[in-house]
Amino acid sequence: MAIPFPFSAIVGQDEMKLAIQIVAIDPKVGGILALGDRGTGKSTAVRALADLLPPLQVVVGCRYGCDPASSGATCSDCTSLKATGKRPKTETRPVPVVDLPLGASEDRVVGALDLEKALSQGVKAFSPGLLAQANRGFLYIDEVNLLEDHLVDLLIDVAASGENVVEREGLSVRHPARFVLVGSGNPEEGELRPQLLDRFGLSVEVRTPQDIDQRIAVIKRRDAFERDPQGFRDEWATQNEGLREHILKARKLLDKVKVGDDLLRLCAQLCQALGTDGLRAELTLMRACRSLAAMQGHKAATPAHLRTVAPMALRHRLRRNPLDDTGSGTRVERALTEVLGA
């Protein structure tokens, strides 16, 4: 595996780092869409995501990495394991962060007939694809706006249902595929379909740091990393460890964080003012507030939390109004001022 750049060594990019931490604390917030110019370090930040995530408990022998604690066996592997009557063994595994390469074939994404078995034993078996690998983890698509249409359709469906249904080549398989979608891209190169946009919980705009000292720091660290990736990672291991513990602590606190009715009302007002469709925006707002509160060690989410997460959670959900050309960020700010007061 290529060695990723350590998360704690990333300079600047505060919004992006915040979004990643919010999602790491509560994956239910939904995915992250990072938009920005080239060379701003979008993919560096996303690939460093794995640093933050505490490992998972999985069932040994389950190709979909099911959670041993979950009651109802959902996948075929777990069912057949259960049928043997023995208690399944468990193991810890790092959270999967799966890269979806642009050239990937549909077979590779969805899964296909296991060629090895078909050839050698003449057996029809399913070989899981990237969606199965990403179950309970993250699926990362760099240059998401260049993704081929048929793959986009597929992802939209699976991301919504949390289940991958394969009906092809005489195979009939369904397996859990609950993953957090993370995309990055340069909006100049192509727009994203609103349906796909909606599957991302948060969106951030990434820019290159304008501050000369920050730029120098980026270049120094990146250069040091390229010269000796492992050594550089070791240098930052302590900071990364601290960050991970912080996330773990926040996760434990998450269920205790209160989101009051008055805050929910504010969320609803905000969404109404911006005319976002459906309840997904409100849900995302609420979860993101809770996650941010937990991250800061607070027991209750406040309007201040809402103010911080609202641009990220709403920016990409606004309908484009042909008569109003203000950027969506400004529109969110305006609505925030309206609802929360200056």
Partner: protein
Amino acid sequence: MNLAWDDALWALAALHIDPVGLRGIWLRSPHGPVRDEWLTLLQHLRPGVRRLPNNIDSERLLGGLDLSATLNTGRPVTQAGLLAQSDQSLLLAPMAERMANEAAAILAQVLDSGRVTPHGGGDTQDARLGLIALDEALEDEPAMAETLQERLGIWLDLRHLGRQAQASDEVLGLIGVLCSPDEEADEERQNIIRRLRTLRLNDEQIQAITQMSQAMGIASLRGPLACVRLACVLAALRESDEVQDQDLGRAARLCLTPRATQMPAPPEQEAPPEQAQEPLEPQPETPEPPQDEPAPPDNEQPSDTEQPPDSPDSPEEDTPPQNMGELLLEAALASLPPDVLAQLAQSSKTQIRGGGQSRSGDVRQSRSRGSPLPPRPGLPRQGARLHVLATLGHAAPRQKLRTPLASSQGAANRLAIRAEDFHIHRFAERTQTCLIFAIDASGSAALHRLAEAKGAVELLLAQSYARRDQVCVVGFRGTQAEVLLPPTKSLVRAKRSLAGLLGGGGTPLPHAMKLALELALQQRRLGVTPSLVMLCDGRANVSLQGSGGRAQAFQESLSLANAWRSQGLQSIWIDTSARPEPQAEQLAQAMGAHYVPLPQANSQRMAQVVQAAPRHSEPDRAKLSN
């Protein structure tokens, strides 16, 4: 001595030493003796460097199932793709400007991650490589995909290099040693690599590079990073123990100067990013801004940077960082490519909504022609062609599953192919583009600028002719807008219709926009990608009803502009008023247009357009610079 060829050879040697660290080179040059010589030297340095055929499909690029081996052995055999095969080496991509977007995106990803995942799945493989992208695009043609440009460390432009270009003995000797047939060459290379590991830039040098890249308006940090790396490689090549000014200068010329989006101002005048596309105001003491020089004036550059740059926190004039920055700047500008302005113009062109493909039409999927995309499952009907290899590849591993049935039919040694195996060819096709010119010939415009506007249109016409675009001209004045020239490819007719355009009367801008929109939508239905070039001062004063009333006309124009934008159509707005007109800019924004004021007092901008079309004749230049 012209530094360009010397730099080119240093770049070549550096790529040979450190292909992976530098990620490769974007080499812009037509096919010709200069490039041939460079490539011959490359062949000597790296015999058997792999070539990337332009029509390569992603399967070959990424690797996938080896059909014959799979059939022979009865188990799936994967074949490494070209990328994995080029691990730790250089890969040559000729005609990179024609590369399919898909392939460019894949290459960009691999350059970033150094890993490649085979097409059908399987383990990822190492693919740490440097790409030599040969770009033959002419000035007015779309260059290589920007995603890919961005990743390549070195940018080299040999388009204006004559055959008599010379290089220093130092670099020639070095390449001679590295080319020598015996083990000496390899030993030398290993020595240099060993030295490279120990070389570092000091803080001051890194600061100088960062500052300069910012002053040049380079937003991406990949440029300065490549510059840092290249400076070390160059120092290692010279067998130096430390990175010196000449290495920094050379590296800046190869990595930073070509990426510049603005002329570097003295350090204290750091331009905010919004101004990145704007030409700088000429310095009062320099009568001509250096941009306007057709050739790089080596000894004039310093005069631009001689003013003592002082930053707020250090009043002393000779603090080392500034000195370093100045030296570096001077070195970087020493071989300023003559078309730096064409590049600037180009980089601003790509801001047009719709992205980098705008200039050659949208890409759409086709079943019959274009550059190949990976095959997809599907039935060969409605003009789709069967992709035999992919179909066989799909059927082959499944034979054992199907044999019971096949043998019962007495065809045991035939391949059993089912409908689900069928794969079809897919291609990406570029559609045609139609440029719609809407020209304001009203009184307000005619008096001032009609002649200039016509000149600008002629330039744009010449460019679009070179791109085989269709053009269409709409003129508007008085109370009417009319199609002076329906979509055509005839440049002569377009010019004639322009010449016949007389000025005077009101500005029925809403009419013109409505007509242009109708034309554009009609063209789009025909499968042509339309884009609009609007030449107008934005001062609409005739409404759709044909009555006067500025406010009404402006409101109508605004809502039509929004309609234009919501259709996702592309446009450029050239403001023909004497000084940039807020109304025009507002309308351009509403349209999502790229707004270009046609300035009167300072002819820089126009000169840029002129330089971007170098084959254009002199008289027009005189006319336009006014």
